[in-house]
C-alpha cells in the first residue's frame, strides 16, 4: 500500500488546484522563506484527520482555508485529497476491495469538515483509524513539523513511550 499523490485546492496559500506526486526514494522541497513549504506538509497532516488546530498553526480550523491576499478575495472552501494505491490488497479490511482510492477532506467556512474514502462519506474517526492501522497518521512520529525534531528528546519519558507504541 502506497501514498502516491496529494491534491490541494484552497488550502492555506495553495488557492489554485495543485498536484504533488509522492514517488519512491527521496523527494526534496525547496523555496524561500514564507513561500508555502510547511503549508504543503500541513495539507498532508490535515487530510490524515489532524484535529489539533495548534498543530496547523491556526487559531481555529477555518484558518486552513485560503484567507485572500492584497489582490485576491478569500475562499470559503478548502479540499485536500490523498491518492492511495493498494495493488496487493493490504489495506485495512473495510477498504481492501479497492485497488486504489482517494481519501478526501473538505472544509467549508463555519460549517466544519467532511471526509470521504473511496467516494463514500465516512467520519473523522474512520480516517484516523485507517492511517493508524498503516503506521501513519497525524499523530505519527514520522511526520516531523518544523522546529519539532528536538521535541522528541525534550518530551517527558511517558510521552516518548508513545513513539514505541507506533512500532508495536
Amino acid at each position: 500500500m502506497q501514498f502516491v499523490k496529494l491534491r490541494l485546492s484552497g488550502f492555506k496559500s495553495f488557492v489554485e488546484p495543485t498536484e504533488f506526486a509522492i514517488e519512491p526514494g527521496l523527494t526534496g522541497i525547496v523555496g524561500p522563506n514564507g513561500c508555502g513549504k510547511s503549508n504543503l506538509v500541513e495539507a498532508l497532516r490535515w487530510v490524515m484527520g489532524e484535529n489539533r488546530v495548534k498543530a496547523l498553526r491556526g487559531g481555529e480550523m477555518d484558518d486552513v482555508i485560503f484567507a485572500g491576499t492584497s489582490s485576491r478575495p478569500a475562499r470559503n472552501v478548502a479540499e485536500v485529497s490523498l491518492l492511495v494505491e493498494n495493488p496487493l490488497h493490504k489495506a485495512p479490511a473495510a477498504y481492501n476491495d479497492m485497488a486504489d482510492f482517494d481519501i478526501v477532506r473538505r472544509i467549508e467556512r463555519e460549517k466544519g469538515s467532511a471526509y470521504r474514502i473511496g467516494g463514500r462519506e465516512v467520519r473523522a474517526r474512520d480516517v484516523q483509524l485507517f492511517f493508524q492501522d498503516v503506521g501513519s497518521g497525524a499523530h505519527s512520529p514520522s511526520l516531523v513539523s518544523q522546529g519539532r525534531i528536538g521535541a522528541i528528546i525534550q518530551a517527558k519519558p511517558t510521552e516518548r513511550r508513545q513513539i514505541l507504541e507506533e512500532a508495536a
Binding site: S13, L26, G31, K37, I149, T158, E165
Partner: protein
C-alpha cells in the same frame, strides 16, 4: 499488548544503538523502559505505563543528561530514535520539515547517507523540506515552491541548478 510492547522495545533499542553509532561515527546510546512514579506515590511496573528514557553519549564524552547535548547533537539523537522506530515498523511515508537546520555539514552528510540507505532498503517514501545545498544535492527529485504572485503558492518541479537559483532569490 504488554508482550508486543516489550518486543517492540527490544527491536527499537537494537536499531537505535546501531543508528546512533552510524550518525555520530561512534559513541554509544541505548534506551531504557523505566517504571514511573504514579500520582499516588506507588511505582507502576506495567510496561504500558512506563517511561522511555534515552541515554546518549557522543564519541569521547561522558554519558550525560540529554538536555546538556548541543542543538545539533539532540537533533541527531532524535533522528536515530525516529529511524529506529521506522525500521521496526515502516510507515508508507516519512515527512521531515527542516530537520537539518541545526546540523553542520559533516552531520548533514551522515544524515543524508542514512536517509538514502533506509529509503532503498525499506521502500519508504521520504519528503524532506530543506534549505541546505548539501541535502538538496542528495535528493532523487526536487520540487520548488514559489510565490510568483505574492501570497499564492505554486509548486514546480526543479533540477538542482534552478533549485540553487531559487535558494538565492526571495
Amino acid at each position: 499488548a504488554r508482550e508486543r510492547l516489550r518486543e517492540a522495545f527490544t527491536k527499537v533499542d537494537g536499531h537505535f544503538q546501531d543508528l546512533f553509532q552510524r550518525l555520530f561515527g561512534g559513541g554509544r546510546a541505548h534506551l531504557t523502559l523505566s517504571p514511573v512514579m504514579g500520582a499516588d506515590g506507588q511505582v507502576n511496573d506495567d510496561p504500558l505505563e512506563a517511561g522511555l528514557d534515552v541515554m546518549a553519549s557522543p564519541p569521547g564524552k561522558k554519558l550525560q543528561s540529554l538536555t546538556l547535548l548541543s542543538g545539533g547533537e539532540q537533533a541527531m539523537t532524535a533522528l536515530a530514535l525516529l529511524f529506529a522506530v521506522f525500521l521496526t515498523n515502516p510507515a508508507p511515508i516519512c515527512v521531515m520539515d527542516e530537520v537539518d537546520a541545526p546540523l553542520d555539514d559533516a552531520n548533514v552528510d551522515r544524515f543524508c547517507k542514512l536517509l538514502d540507505e533506509i529509503g532503498r532498503s525499506s521502500g519508504v517514501r521520504f519528503i524532506v523540506v530543506t534549505h541546505h545545498r548539501l541535502t538538496m544535492s542528495k535528493m532523487d527529485r526536487l520540487f520548488g515552491v514559489t510565490m510568483a504572485e505574492r501570497g499564492i503558492s505554486t509548486l514546480v518541479s526543479v533540477d538542482l541548478r534552478s533549485a540553487e537559483r531559487l535558494r538565492a532569490t526571495a
